[in-house]
Symmetry: C2
Subunit: 476 residues, 2 copies
């Protein structure tokens, strides 16, 4: 199927970074106003985020979590309570120093993440094992004063959710940490059609203040990795400095065990970079704000009436449908909905009406189908299911093709400077070897996968006895 290249965007194989920027602009996803490093999440991107949010929020609630809302400000003294945490975040926080004309007695930072606020709250409301677990989440924005920014991938303010839970035992808290990582995995695989690798971060790459961090890594079209969700186990690292104590079943004081987990609008970046092509976005049906557009080719009365009745039939099936009966040219309309990545487009012209048929076009592979008007609704449902499936399979094939098993640094270099991707290699456990690996195009360890393979007995960097198999890659 020959698809005409959209001239408004750079080809992704020519300049991937420019292609990304072009799509963000042309599909009206984000806009930089005069607030430096912060962006407007435009309505179309926000609608995608709302759909992601609805899927996750439902899964959170089904697993017993409740939403609440915490203040956006953290007093400096509160942020300072856990040493590793403040060291990790203080260099990149925004400080509020004045309220109106008055200087504040104590500086407040705008939350970069809310562990300290939740700790403060939990230390007040949890008194007994009967009060546990507390399984709370919030949807909000956070601020990190980044120097270089890119829409969705790295902005000074971004939208996210952060779950924070406290538990009676380490076992329960660790189970929560893994359970929530699986919720994210389900979102990515089943809804976003994005294959992922999940595993444990190394000590060097874990969250500031965590015992350990689990992460979800996805490979973009250019072979670069995007860390797209994390889940942290804190043990009692915050509960001691924040005095989060409870009376246990034996009537003794204990400190709670804690987790936190989050994902952000960065996910929109991964949707763009995993599925998008030279004609714009390609959205998986389950998450697309509109799944089908019904387009009139010429606006005579019969065509318009068919557009209406078909659109109604599809809405009645529970699909998200829009119509375009504007007087723009057919080609212009096609390009517009391709840019926005709508999974299926239906074209109806006067000749179609005569033949009691319509043309359906898939966004993912451009395939066309001529279908009798009576069968449109069933065919569209069938196509949407197939598109969701094919998008996942295509992305999986791409990830697999660019995942390499290596035993020498030369192999790694050859790959990373030609066709980068994930490198599977053994590692001794020494952070020095991670630093050494970083010399190759800034590569970092992605994670120790939950199911490690045995590739060799030796660390790929130093040759000493290997402890783990790691995924490595360049990251956004």
């Amino acid at each position: 199927m020959a698809i005409v290249k959209n001239e408004k965007i750079t080809s992704r194989d020519v300049d991937f970074a420019q292609w990304y920027t072009d799509i963000v602009k042309q599909a009206h996803l984000a806009y930089y106003t005069s607030v430096k490093g912060c962006m407007v999440v435009e309505p179309y991107a926000f609608a995608i985020w709302e759909n992601i949010k609805n899927v996750l929020d439902k899964m959170f609630k089904e697993s017993g979590h409740e939403n609440l809302y915490m203040p956006m400000f953290i007093p400096e003294s509160l942020l300072n309570k856990e040493a590793e945490h403040v060291e990790g975040f203080a260099p990149e926080v925004a400080w509020v120093t004045h309220g109106g004309k008055n200087k504040l007695e104590e500086r407040l930072c705008v939350r970069p993440t809310s562990e300290t606020l939740f700790c403060d709250y939990y230390s007040n409301i949890v008194k007994s094992y009967r009060d546990l677990p507390k399984l709370y989440n919030q949807w909000c924005s956070v601020v990190r004063w980044e120097k270089t920014t890119r829409p969705f991938l790295r902005t000074r303010e971004f939208l996210w959710q952060e779950g924070h839970t406290v538990h009676e035992t380490a076992k329960e808290a660790e189970e929560e940490t893994f359970k929530m990582m699986n919720v994210y995995k389900k979102l990515f695989e089943e809804y976003l059609a994005i294959p992922v690798i999940t595993g444990k971060k190394t000590e060097k790459e874990k969250f500031a203040g965590a015992e350990y961090t689990l992460s979800l890594e996805a490979m973009m079209y250019d072979g670069v990795s995007l860390q797209s969700a994390t889940s942290h186990y804190f043990g009692q690292k915050f509960s001691v400095p924040f005095d989060m104590k409870f009376v246990d079943r034996n009537n003794k004081w204990q400190y709670v065990y804690q987790t936190s987990w989050g994902c952000s609008t960065r996910i929109i970046g991964s949707l763009i970079m995993v599925h998008g092509d030279d004609n714009g976005l390609v959205l998986p049906p389950k998450i697309a704000p509109k799944q089908v557009v019904v387009i009139s080719i010429r606006n005579d009365e019969k065509v318009l009436s068919a557009v209406q009745s078909i659109s109604k039939a599809l809405s009645d099936k529970g699909l998200r449908v829009c119509t375009d009966t504007s007087d723009k040219s057919a080609g212009f309309k096609f390009a517009e909905y391709e840019m926005k990545g709508l999974p299926v487009r239906i074209e109806i012209g006067p000749r179609d009406i005569e033949n009691k048929q319509v043309v359906l076009v898939r966004r993912d592979n451009g395939q066309k189908y001529t279908v009798s008007i009576d069968e449109v609704d069933n065919k569209v449902c069938e196509l949407l299911e197939d598109i969701q499936h094919c998008m996942y399979e295509k992305a999986l094939k791409h990830t697999q093709e660019r995942t390499y098993t290596c035993t020498t640094l030369d192999e790694v270099k050859n790959i990373m400077y030609s066709k980068p991707g994930f490198i599977k290699a053994m590692w001794c456990g020494d952070p020095e070897c991670e630093l050494k690996m970083k010399e190759i195009r800034g590569m970092k360890s992605r994670c120790i996968p939950f199911e490690e393979e045995h590739i060799s007995d030796h660390c790929i960097v130093c040759g000493k006895k290997a402890k783990h198999m790691l995924y490595w890659g360049i990251q956004y």
Copy 2:
């Protein structure tokens, strides 16, 4: 029906302010942590807010509005562009002066409202009449550096929505201003069971920078008024300084016409103060997080199985149901769900099982019903509808009883120092007379209602020729 008074809260007729604080605490609605003037919106209050949000968001979308997300920071120079606006807000904004260790080149304020950001955005994306109208809304938090704070009513940070629209003509923009006020009216009357007065604010009381402001005023149990939603018509007051121009149908440059409208978590304060009683919250069924609780009186197998099957039958009807089969005493359980204001409670004990019946208790008036198990689901649906209706009627009766028509200041004084409420009185249009009225317990004009009555020919304050009938009252 004799209801036993809950001892954990002060009686509302003894000390209304303390009663309010007690409910906020005992029903776990809000919590002050160490962040001064900011509160945690606890899960139960947040669930109420989510229900309010869902109702409004649906109405917004049905009327063609889209959600987006704007940055939380406003550069000082941007805030300063509209003179009246900055004068109104600058004294109460929080200023960010540092990012990490570096002093910012320009101070940023944390948004107290986002007119200036939307103006900046619209001035960039609107070029032609074909781009109009833009009907955007955002759900977010805003910050106003208040000196004295009260949970939900006045906090330094609060959750709200703010709609911002731009239009081709003044007529369209004015229609939008009124239409959105009616959306709020519908929320209050049909969902929150709160009767309201809507009208236009006087010049003195309008929003900083608006041509005029419409407001929605509700009377609390103590006769004090709560301004609960506003809708502003800006005309071209912002579009000139922000250069929001478009090419019109005659190919000429024009400035857009603009509106904004918002409501906040303050609504939760009005739910508490309109409907609550000496046993806690009383929530209208349409907005209650849980509409029914099924409580076991003793936990034998038959009782537990009946609790489960009744709860399932009610869920299948689409109701929001929870169960309590804990081993706490029945009285303790009753008090707990009364405190949380659940509309209907179902009590099931061993004797009820024998008689194939259960007891239903209404929260709004304490009335009890013995109902055959087969009829529970229908009876509950019927009760919920009746409760929603009766709560509105009760609040309406209260508002009407405490709305007074006055022609002399002595009458006003007598009323406001004994049993305050809304005063209907004539006004000449002079802000000086509003200031004079303020000497009576800080009363302010609430609004000029859309349908004015003719009470007399003379201003109640100065005796000069009257221009309008005003609602007056003390405010939160």
